[in-house]
């Protein structure tokens, strides 16, 4: 239980996790569900419980596509994607927290790679 | 008296059918609002004579709020429509005379809106507290 971190996540995400009624619709709709260790509904619940460290250490935070399907379909207006984003930011802002480095880029790029992709990936994975 | 200690006197007129019930609901749900608010029960917002509001100010009230059913939902069908006109004109006149317009307010609170009642009262008390004492209409002889 890490209360400071929990508060930070709640503040930066602007999400009220207590509104969640545990229906699981976010997880029922998530396209990255299969790639994740912790699923969207667990993100919400674990933030409520203050289990932020586990989330920050999990690769799940890099699997969210920010597609906002969970946000759109949540019947309680909880916005799980914003929680994931806040946890990922907390992780990448830490020393050595970058998930993507410039050195990796040449192996990734091909002739058609749109600039948009690299900009976006850096925004999501690197501080 | 410093601002921190200042406790405003607030008179709230509530119609019996909606707002008084809304105030009761705020109580039933244990929703806090400052004790500075004292409620007078009237059958309908249209029972509130502008004289009562002036009287309150004369006697040292710092704020007066009138709560009634939402327009269209009056228990007596049309009462709050008349109240709305009377209060609009009275408030405008008080403002014209230089009385701080923030000291007077009308809110429509239904019997189901306990939370709204508490929110409105918290907000009104905050506003009036920030204004400080009513000096412009109080009859100093009425002060004990």
């Amino acid at each position: 239980m890490n209360n400071n971190l929990k508060e930070e996540i709640i503040r930066t995400s602007g999400v009220n996790v207590l509104k969640c009624m545990r229906c699981g619709k976010c997880s029922g709709t998530c396209p990255s569900y299969g790639e994740m260790e912790y699923h969207p509904h667990q993100f919400v619940y674990m933030v409520e419980k203050g289990e932020i460290d586990k989330l920050m250490d999990s690769p799940s935070i890099y699997k969210c596509l920010s597609c906002f399907a969970c946000v759109e379909r949540c019947p309680r207006g909880v916005e799980p994607a914003k929680i994931v984003e806040a946890v990922r930011l907390a992780a990448t802002r830490r020393q050595g927290g970058n998930h993507l480095t410039a050195e990796e880029i040449p192996c990734i790029v091909d002739d058609d790679t749109p600039g948009q992709l690299l900009v976006s990936a850096f925004r999501k994975y690197k501080k | 008296m410093s601002m921190n200690e200042f406790k405003p006197k607030i008179v709230a007129f509530c119609c019996n059918w909606c707002s008084y019930a809304g105030a009761d609901l705020a109580g039933t749900n244990r929703l806090n609002y400052p004790a500075d608010v004292k409620i007078i029960r009237v059958p309908c917002s249209c029972r509130v004579n502008p004289l009562f509001i002036l009287r309150a100010f004369q006697r040292g009230a710092d704020g007066v709020i009138l709560c009634g059913c939402h327009p269209g939902d009056c228990h007596y069908t049309t009462g709050n429509y008349y109240a709305r006109r009377r209060m609009t004109l009275l408030f405008s006149m008080l403002d014209y005379l230089g009385i701080e317009k923030e000291r007077t307010r009308v809110e429509w609170v239904s019997a189901a809106e306990g939370a709204k009642f508490a929110t409105v009262m918290n907000d009104f008390v905050k506003t009036v507290t920030e204004l400080g004492e009513n000096k412009r209409l109080e009859d100093l002889r009425c002060k004990k």
Binding site: T12, P31, Y62, L65, E72, G115, V119, K124, Y125 | -
Partner: protein, 258 residues
């Protein structure tokens, strides 16, 4: 009718055709697209964190320039549209964001939110009108069965984007009808292509994109159209059996300016 126009980086490099066809079509439809003089990259994705500010400033600047020009701002790339529209929304609703943006920029940032932001498709629908486009079509694409691929960025978050019904959109389908073709409705049209994740996990992205083109092809589409260079990239990379092209290309073709 003149609009300020924000093309975005990718439209200047890998997605030149998206931009080119759009400009030519606009001209044919009597619309002047006036490219903002000093636009900067939108950042590709909008960061929802409340404490992020620097990454949103380029959008604030774009909005501010358009306001100075006195025009509504037209975007074309889904990502740019999403970022700028969300920035505008936050300026409109978040006082803290406003204050900090104002401090950074040394002006009243809220004014930037006065700028109306519309996507090129919205311009076609609301300004030109699909009926009008229908009249202007010289080369109707009769018989073509086309799948509209919306992806995420145009539609969501629905309350902010106000683009179309996020679960059952119809703007691109209406567009397809306007140019004489037949729209193919398939359930994956508003699901994610995999987006930026392709950088770190190409397999995961491919899974998503495959589901999209399989669904479209399964419902008999002979072509997928999109407004997003990244969607197109991902779909093609996932070996879509049917062509994936920008909607502006079809528009230009129908208007005879390809």
């Amino acid at each position: 009718m003149t609009f300020s126009y924000y093309p975005g980086c990718t439209l200047k490099t890998k997605a030149k055709e998206l931009d080119g066809y759009a400009r030519r079509s606009a001209e044919a439809l009597g619309i002047t697209l006036d490219e903002l003089a000093d636009w900067q990259c939108c950042g590709g994705v909008y960061t929802t964190a409340k404490d992020e500010i620097a990454t949103k400033l380029s959008s604030v600047r774009a909005l501010m320039s358009a306001k100075k020009e006195g025009n509504a701002l037209v975007t074309l790339c889904s990502a740019c549209h999403n970022v700028i529209k969300q920035t505008k929304h936050e300026l409109d609703t978040n006082d803290d964001m406003n204050l900090r943006a104002s401090n950074y920029m040394g002006c009243n940032a809220r004014e930037a939110a006065d700028t109306e932001v519309i996507h090129y498709l919205e311009m076609l629908r609301d300004v030109v009108g699909f009926d009008k486009i229908k009249e202007k079509v010289v080369n109707p694409l009769t018989g073509r069965k086309i799948a509209a691929y919306y992806g995420c960025l145009l539609l969501r978050p629905g309350k902010t984007m106000q683009f179309d019904n996020p679960e059952n959109p119809k703007i691109i389908e209406d567009f397809i009808r306007a140019i004489g073709a037949t729209p193919v409705i398939y359930p994956m049209r508003n699901e994610c292509c995999g987006g930026y994740i392709t950088v770190k996990d190409a397999e995961a992205a491919k899974k998503n994109s495959t589901a999209v083109h399989e669904s479209a092809a399964g419902f008999g589409a002979d072509c997928i159209i999109t407004a997003c260079p990244l969607c197109r990239y991902n779909l093609i990379k996932a070996e879509s059996p049917i062509p994936v092209i920008y909607f502006t290309e079809l528009l230009a073709e129908a208007l005879g300016v390809k």
